[in-house]
C-alpha cells in the first residue's frame, strides 16, 4: 500500500512548470526527494499537503484523493516545511496549548519529552531560538500528534552534523512501525543516503528517476577517461558526462557498459550532479 501516490502532477507558474510528476511513497518506507534549488521539490510537497492548487494530475494520500482528506486524516500527516512555521511570539508551552486544539491526537507528554531531548527551553519565545532549534521544535510538533506520514521539506538544513544525525535517529525510531512513511527532501544527500529506501530525483520540474536507493547504487558507476573512451562505451551505457580539464568523467550504467569496464562507485550526490549538470550523449 502507498501512503502517498502522485500521478502526472502538473503545476504551471509564470516562470516554472512542474510537469508530469509521478512517484509513490509506500507504507514502511522512507522516500528521499532530491533535486537542486528551484527543481520543484517544494511545489510537489506543497501540492501533496494541499498548499497549492495543482493544474493537473492526481494525488492520493492514505489511498484517498488528497483534496478530500478529512480533518482526522490530515491530522495523521506531520509536516515540517523548511522555513519556520511556528509562531515566533509563542513559547513551547503556548505552542502545545495551540496544538491541542489543532490535533485530535496531540500528545503533550511526548512533545515536552522531545523538547527535552532536543534541549529546547519551554519558556523561551521561538523567535529567540536558533534556526536549528526552530527546526527541532517543528520536528517535535510533527512527531507528537500520532502522525502516520511525515512530510519533511529540508528538515535538516541549518543544522550541524551532530544535530542532523540526532534527527535522523528520531526518524529511524518513527519508522519502527511498518504502516508509517516519511517523504523527506534535502540538499544534504548524505543524510538521505543513510536513511532512505527510495530516491526520487527531480530536475527542471520533471522526475528524472524514482528508484530504490540500493538499485541506484548498483546500477551506476563513474567512468573516467578520454572523450573517445567515453564515446566507445555507447549511447545506451552513458547516462551523462562532464568535461574536465584532464578528460571526461561519465555516469555509466554498469550492466550496459559491460563487465570489463573499470568504474568508480557512484554515490547519490554523484548521480544527482551528473543528471543536473552533465551533458547527454
Amino acid at each position: 500500500m502507498n501512503n502517498v501516490s502522485v500521478r502526472h502532477l502538473t503545476k504551471k507558474y509564470k516562470d516554472f512548470t512542474l510537469e508530469d510528476v509521478s512517484f509513490d511513497v509506500p507504507a514502511g518506507c522512507v522516500v528521499g526527494f532530491i533535486g537542486e534549488n528551484g527543481a520543484g521539490k517544494s511545489t510537489t510537497i506543497k501540492s501533496i499537503l494541499g498548499l497549492v492548487n495543482p493544474d493537473g494530475g492526481k494525488i492520493q494520500v492514505f489511498g484517498k484523493d488528497a483534496a478530500a482528506l478529512s480533518k482526522k486524516e490530515k491530522n495523521a500527516i506531520g509536516a515540517v516545511l523548511g522555513e519556520n512555521c511556528l509562531p515566533e511570539n509563542l513559547t513551547l508551552r503556548d505552542v502545545s496549548a495551540v496544538m491541542r486544539l489543532i490535533f485530535a491526537g496531540w500528545n503533550e507528554q511526548s512533545f515536552f519529552a522531545y523538547a527535552e531531548k532536543f534541549a529546547l527551553p519551554e519558556d523561551k519565545k521561538i523567535r529567540n531560538f536558533s534556526r536549528g532549534m526552530q527546526q527541532k521544535a517543528a520536528l517535535a510538533v510533527a512527531l507528537s500528534h500520532g502522525a502516520e506520514l511525515l512530510v519533511l521539506d529540508e528538515p535538516t538544513s541549518g543544522l550541524d552534523p551532530v544535530a542532523r544525525d540526532e534527527i535522523l535517529g528520531f526518524l529511524y525510531d518513527f519508522m519502527q512501525e511498518e504502516r508509517r512513511s516519511v517523504l523527506i527532501s534535502s540538499h544534504i544527500v548524505t543524510d538521505l543516503e543513510k536513511l532512505c529506501d527510495y530516491i526520487v530525483f527531480i530536475h527542471g520540474g520533471k522526475i528524472v528517476f524514482a528508484e530504490e536507493k540500493d538499485a541506484l547504487r548498483e546500477r551506476y558507476g563513474i567512468f573516467r577517461g578520454s572523450a573517445e573512451q567515453v564515446a566507445a562505451l555507447g549511447k545506451d551505457a552513458v547516462a551523462a558526462y562532464i568535461r574536465g580539464d584532464f578528460g571526461m568523467s561519465a555516469l555509466v550504467d554498469r550492466q550496459k557498459a559491460g563487465a570489463g569496464v573499470a568504474l568508480d562507485r557512484a554515490g547519490l550526490e554523484d548521480i544527482m550532479l551528473y543528471y543536473a549538470r552533465g551533458e547527454r550523449v
Binding site: 498548499l51 516545511l81 512555521c85 509562531p87 511570539n89 503556548d94 491541542r100 486544539l101
Partner: protein, 201 residues
C-alpha cells in the same frame, strides 16, 4: 479554527493590552469632555486592526502553510480572522452604550452616532479583510490608509447629516448603514473564503 484563534490571542497579547489601554483612555477622555465621537471614532477601527496584525504575523511565521498542512481548512482560517475582529470590535463598540448611563449623553443624536459608527466599523472590517487576503498585508497597508481616510470623511459627513436632518430620516439612515455593515460581514466572508480557496501558499 479554535487553535488559530488561540494562537492569534497569544501572539497579539502585548498589542491587545495596548489597545485595551487606548480604549480606556479614549473612553475616559470622551466621557470627561462630553464628546461621544471621540470614543466611537476609535471603536470603528478596532475590528480591522487586530486581524490585520494577526495576518501580518502569520505571513512572517508561515502559519497558514502549517495550519493547512495540519487539517485546518481554508474556510476555518478565514473565519478565525473574522471572529478575532468581531471579538474585539463588538465589546469595544458595545462599551459606547455605557455613555448613556451619564444623563448628559442621553440624546437621540448620540444614539444615532453609536449606531452609525457601529455600521462604519463593520464596513471597515468588511472591506479591509478580503483586500488583505488578496494582496497581502504589505501591499494592503496603503489601501487600508485610504479606506480609513474615506471612512473618516464619510463619518464627518454622516455626523453633519444626523445633526441637520435628525428625527426619523436620520434614524432610518443609520439603521440602514448598520444593517449594511452586518450584511457586509457575510458577503465579505464569502469573498474571503473564495480568495483563500484559490490562493497558493
Amino acid at each position: 479554527m479554535k487553535g488559530t484563534l488561540l494562537k492569534d490571542l497569544k501572539n497579539l497579547k502585548g498589542q491587545l493590552l495596548y489597545y485595551a489601554f487606548l480604549v480606556v483612555v479614549f473612553f475616559v477622555v470622551g466621557a470627561l469632555s462630553g464628546n461621544l465621537y471621540f470614543y466611537v471614532g476609535l471603536s470603528m477601527f478596532c475590528g480591522a486592526v487586530a486581524p490585520v496584525s494577526a495576518i501580518a504575523y502569520d505571513e512572517k511565521d508561515n502559519w497558514d502553510k502549517f495550519a493547512l498542512a495540519s487539517g485546518v481548512s481554508r474556510k476555518e482560517l478565514a473565519a478565525a480572522r473574522y471572529l478575532l475582529g468581531l471579538l474585539i470590535f463588538i465589546p469595544v463598540w458595545a462599551l459606547s452604550f455605557v455613555f448613556f448611563a451619564i444623563p448628559a449623553f442621553r440624546t437621540q443624536e448620540n444614539l444615532f452616532a453609536v449606531l452609525m459608527f457601529g455600521g462604519m466599523g463593520l464596513i471597515v472590517t468588511d472591506v479591509v479583510l478580503p483586500l488583505v487576503f488578496r494582496i497581502g498585508v504589505e501591499k494592503a497597508r496603503a489601501v487600508y490608509l485610504l479606506v480609513v481616510l474615506a471612512v473618516m470623511l464619510l463619518s464627518v459627513g454622516a455626523a453633519s447629516f444626523i445633526e441637520l436632518i435628525g428625527g426619523d430620516p436620520a434614524f432610518i439612515g443609520v439603521c440602514l448603514l448598520f444593517a449594511a455593515g452586518v450584511a457586509g460581514v457575510f458577503v465579505s466572508f464569502v469573498v474571503s473564503v473564495g480568495i483563500y480557496k484559490r490562493k497558493d501558499f
